[in-house]
């Protein structure tokens, strides 16, 4: 995370966009502009509200989730609270799940959890931001609940036969976050080192948290 190339995937080294920010069809642009301008004229939202909402969403993601996970890894009391009263526990990180409810599920030696929303794209947005495209697509939504082990394999996650898989189907009111397993051999690691290990996919439960040497393998 802290190397010279720590920039988003859409930029080249000279700072130019690799790809122009694409616009949708003109019809969609017309509808969006119309709805947005009407909402502003009616005083429902302001341009500033929209800018701030985009900024807030951009600030969510992997690194925010990683802070919660590492806190749970390093503080047993916090972990207990996170698993039993998730909404309250994440409030410490400035996250307000309301009006939704958060349920954090723990990966152990016996159980692997993964999260899907078969009906749409419900996701722990206040923590992880906008879901990845594959999470919203039919293939993941359809298959995660029928053949989770095969789906996990497509993410490079091979589970031993004896391990139980629990698939959590999110809905409008209830969102799930996976507490991944802390990799062995990280007992002496600092909080910053640990946070850098935690990936978005490990908190959706489609992969485990791996040590850099394992990830390269």
């Amino acid at each position: 995370m802290s190397n010279d190339h720590d920039h988003g995937p859409t930029h080249t080294h000279d700072g130019k966009l690799i790809q122009e920010d694409e616009l949708p069809s003109i019809e969609a642009q017309i509808l969006e502009t119309s709805v947005r301008e009407l909402l502003i004229e009616k005083g429902v939202v302001s341009g500033e509200d929209i800018r701030r909402a985009i900024e807030a969403m951009d600030s969510r993601g992997e690194s925010l989730g990683a802070k919660i996970v590492v806190r749970a890894w390093t503080d047993p009391k916090y972990k207990d609270r996170l698993l039993n009263n998730s909404d309250d526990a994440v409030r410490e990180f400035g996250i307000n799940m309301s009006p939704m409810e958060l349920c954090v599920v723990e990966n152990t030696d016996e159980v692997h959890n993964m999260v899907v929303c078969t009906l749409c794209s419900c996701y722990p947005r206040p923590i992880l931001g906008i879901p990845p495209a594959w999470y919203k697509r039919r293939d993941y939504r359809a298959r995660a609940v029928r053949e989770p082990r095969a789906v996990l394999q497509e993410f490079g996650t091979d589970l031993p036969d004896g391990k139980q898989v629990r698939v959590h189907d999110s809905n409008a009111d209830l969102r799930y976050l996976v507490l991944p397993k802390r990799p062995e051999g990280t007992e002496d690691w600092t909080v910053e080192q640990l946070e850098a290990l935690v990936t978005r996919d490990s908190m959706i439960g489609v992969s485990d948290v791996r040590l850099p040497s394992e990830a390269d393998a």
Partner: protein, 108 residues
Amino acid sequence: MRGPQDYGGLPAGPINPVKHEHVPTHWEKTVDALMMLIFDQRRQLARVDESRRMQEAFGEDYHKYPYYERWLQAVSWLMLEKSVFTQEELDAKQVEVRARLEAERDEK
């Protein structure tokens, strides 16, 4: 009865997570922001299940629209349903915006 959005357990293809790792565009983020703002605690103009009801109202057309275009349509229908603006206001606005955007496009 299974709705068009109800995919759980149906046969489907490979996930292809690397291919389908799309970074949201600014336009998509704007639509996202509009939805989040009408949901938020200050406004409470709609709830998530209402947005889903609107998207499911697409019926078989559900699959024809990109994700954020479905969201946009849901925001628009919800605001009409809740009389935040009227169909007449939306129609008039769209005529005006169309002229403006098409003129901008033709200048390029």
